[in-house]
């Protein structure tokens, strides 16, 4: 049964630029987040292109080492805080209210504020390029004392940018918790919630727990730099290793902040195109919660080489191995969902299947670097670079692209060009592997990360990797075209464009109206659209 509930909106959006500045509508804010994230993805991607150009051949060709370090630092910061995180908040804004039968987010004005902080934070961060001494060049992990005693003056701007980004994320997270708890249709029980909502709810708790710790770390940096404290300065009784503990206490939950919503997206796409209910709904929920809990107690596996006692290394190693269990539950559930399903391979499904495959490669290399004695070999090499690009690019970013194609018909009421989208998929999936797979070999052979030049034996794989990088980079021109073409010229889409799709959002009009679910959905409808069946 397809119910198309048409509501007449009691007012339509304002015209012109002020609509976007003043908006409190979750769909508008979702779009703003997504466009901001996309622009940042291109900015961060351009920096990656500069990095790959310099590494195309051994020797110093195009840029000086100082600028190279600024590129790696800003590429990491922009991609993490500017692209992946805002993209997921954008997806959350767009989808969560529609998925739980709510008319909007619980705190719409705060929602507006948490978005509009972002362009300013991004602007402050990027403005450091034009300052004396250049942008921060100490890596995205900004270890003290590199980021305190030896950093350029622009670091203070970086600190304020991180503060603002933190504020934005925390407000976004509070909003999502309040929305899920307060705005959920009264008839919707927790175990009726779609997995994207579940994963975002759990991610919100990670954000609320972890982002303030990052704010604390950068505040300590700020006072160390300017007000004579010595949190990280050994001369004053502080300890630079403590910086790493505080940073990674934030940093490890942070990596799950970037992947849990991705798990949610994939748990929607795969059942749809396998035309089967999601296998193991409740185990998915519990696995997500276990991963979130474990993410708080494994941080020092990033620090195996700081001279920890063996007992500490063993604890952090075993705790890290433990994360493979709930993650494995998820991967097997996705595979079981596809097992004997009537599968079709539309673009979102292609991205989702390649997510499962490639993310698992990243997961395996994660287990490898999590083994304390083996990590002595891998630490700070290109193997680590390959590992986290497999989980963040072919993991987090892949799910964002899958989500874009999957929900684009609902956002725009129009269908994208399937042929072009599949061409784009194959272009991206091949080039991304040419880009990152050789980096495993480079790392195992001992090429260190964050260097502008390398010895001759690394030349061939670097050239292959760079060629893959340029191909992957240009694939986003096609992606941009496909999305804009869909918005402008797409053919009208059905309310439920995917045959096997379940979820309250598909009961709305083909293009979800400006205000949806002014009346909450009925128990019957919720049951019918639930993933938990």
């Amino acid at each position: 049964m397809t119910t198309i509930t048409a509501y007449t909106s009691h007012h339509s959006p304002e015209k012109g630029l002020m609509r976007w500045i003043k908006t409190t509508n979750h769909k508008d804010i979702g779009s703003l987040y997504l466009w901001f994230a996309f622009i940042m993805l291109l900015v961060g991607g351009a920096m990656a292109m500069v990095i790959r150009m310099e590494l195309f051949q051994p020797g110093m060709q195009l840029i000086n080492p100082q600028f190279f370090n600024q590129m790696t630092t800003m590429h990491g910061l922009i991609m993490v805080f500017g692209a992946i995180m805002p993209a997921f908040v954008g997806l959350g804004n767009w989808l969560i209210p529609m998925m739980i039968g709510a008319p909007d987010m619980a705190l719409p004005r705060m929602n507006n504020w948490s978005f509009w902080i972002l362009p300013f934070a991004g602007g402050i961060l990027l403005s450091t390029f034009f300052m004396e001494g250049g942008a921060p060049a100490f890596g995205w992990t900004f270890y003290a004392p590199l980021s305190t005693t030896f950093a350029p003056d622009s670091t203070d701007f970086f600190i304020f940018a991180v503060h603002l980004l933190g504020f934005s994320s925390i407000m976004g997270a509070i909003n999502i918790v309040a929305t899920v708890v307060n705005m959920r249709a009264l008839e919707m029980k927790l175990m009726d919630m779609p997995l994207f909502v579940w994963t975002w709810l759990i991610t919100s708790f990670l954000l609320i727990g972890a982002m303030p710790v990052l704010a604390g770390a950068v505040t300590m940096m700020l006072t160390d730099r300017n007000f004579g404290t010595a949190f990280f300065d050994a001369a004053g009784g502080g300890d630079p290793v403590m910086f790493q503990h505080i940073f990674w206490f934030f940093g490890h939950p942070e990596v799950y902040i970037m992947i849990l919503p991705a798990f949610g997206v994939i748990s929607h796409v795969i059942p749809t195109f396998a035309r089967k209910p999601l296998f193991g709904y409740s185990s998915m929920v519990y696995a997500t919660a276990s991963i979130a809990f474990l993410s708080y107690i494994v941080w020092a596996h990033h620090m195996f080489l700081t001279g920890m006692p063996v007992a500490g290394e063993l604890y952090f190693m075993y705790a890290t191995m433990l994360i493979a269990v709930p993650t494995g539950v998820k991967v097997f559930n996705w595979i079981s969902t596809m097992w004997r399903g009537s599968m079709t391979f539309e673009t979102p499904m292609l991205w989702a299947i390649s997510f499962v495959f490639l993310f698992t490669i990243g997961g395996f290399s994660g287990v490898m670097v999590g083994i304390a004695p083996a990590d002595i070999q891998y630490h700070d090499t290109y193997f680590v670079v390959a590992h986290f690009h497999y989980v963040l690019v072919t993991g987090a970013l892949w799910s964002i692209i899958a989500a874009t194609f999957y929900w684009l018909p609902k956002w725009t009421g129009k269908m994208y060009n399937e042929t072009l989208a599949q061409v784009h998929f194959w272009w991206a999936v091949i080039s991304v592997n040419v880009l990152f797979f050789p980096q495993h070999f480079l790392g195992l052979a001992g090429m260190p990360r964050r260097i502008p030049d390398y010895s001759l034996q690394f030349a061939d794989f670097n050239m292959i990797s760079s060629i893959g990088g340029f191909a992957f980079g240009t694939s986003f021109i096609l992606f941009t075209y496909i999305v804009i073409d869909c918005i402008r010229n797409g053919k009208p889409a059905d309310a439920r464009p995917w045959e096997g799709a379940k979820g309250l959002e598909w009961t709305l009009e083909p293009k979800a109206q400006y205000h949806s679910f002014n009346k909450p959905p009925t128990r019957e409808l919720i049951k019918q659209e639930s993933q938990n069946s």
Binding site: H10, I208, A210, A234, D239, G307
Partner: protein, 177 residues
């Protein structure tokens, strides 16, 4: 119109919790500083050495010997020559020993510094106890002054039998004021 009567009510305590938790986590980041210090002191994590206030009597096994090596380093252009008087000594666990480090200020200015100790392997740090050390206070070096700074220490017999070598290093940092 949006019908709000069918929404769940959110309680005041929930709001307070939601807003308080980020503030508490921010405070927790600062709380990690003393927690880290206490943790290092208890476990010897990070090579933090212990301190005792008076000479104690330990059960002494004369046959057991440990080689202690001394290292000296300076950081960030600290303008004082700094080295151990002896590079290493043989030590029986439970006995107190005295040795010293020599420092010479080669400049025409008064230099103030703080030495930070570290013991390797970290498993030994817990049992390396100092009764007297120049690292307990900051040191003032008059222009061209050469001083001998004493160190009195004991390695407690509880130290793991497998450990035969211990190194103690000092890192001198300049203090601004």
């Amino acid at each position: 119109m949006v019908d709000t009567s069918v929404r769940k009510k959110i309680t005041k305590t929930f709001w307070i919790k939601l807003i308080l938790s980020p503030i508490l986590m921010f405070a927790f980041a600062y709380a990690m500083v003393p927690i880290y210090d206490v943790f290092c002191e208890i476990t010897g994590f990070n090579g933090t050495t212990g301190r005792i206030n008076s000479e104690q009597v330990y059960a002494i096994d004369e046959s057991r010997k440990i080689e202690v090596s001394f290292f000296a380093m300076t950081m960030g252009g600290f303008p004082v020559q700094f080295k151990p008087k002896v590079n290493s000594m043989e030590v029986i666990p439970g006995k107190f020993y005295t040795t010293s480090y020599i420092a010479k200020n080669n400049t025409d200015k008064v230099v103030i510094g703080q030495a930070v100790p570290s013991v390797a392997p970290t498993e030994a740090a817990l049992y390396f106890k100092k009764l007297e050390c120049f690292c307990f206070n900051k040191q003032v070096f008059e222009p061209h002054q050469k001083i001998e700074m004493t160190l009195r220490f004991v390695i407690e017999p509880e130290l793991d039998k497998r450990i035969k070598d211990v190194s103690l290093s000092y890192n001198f940092f300049k203090i601004k004021s």
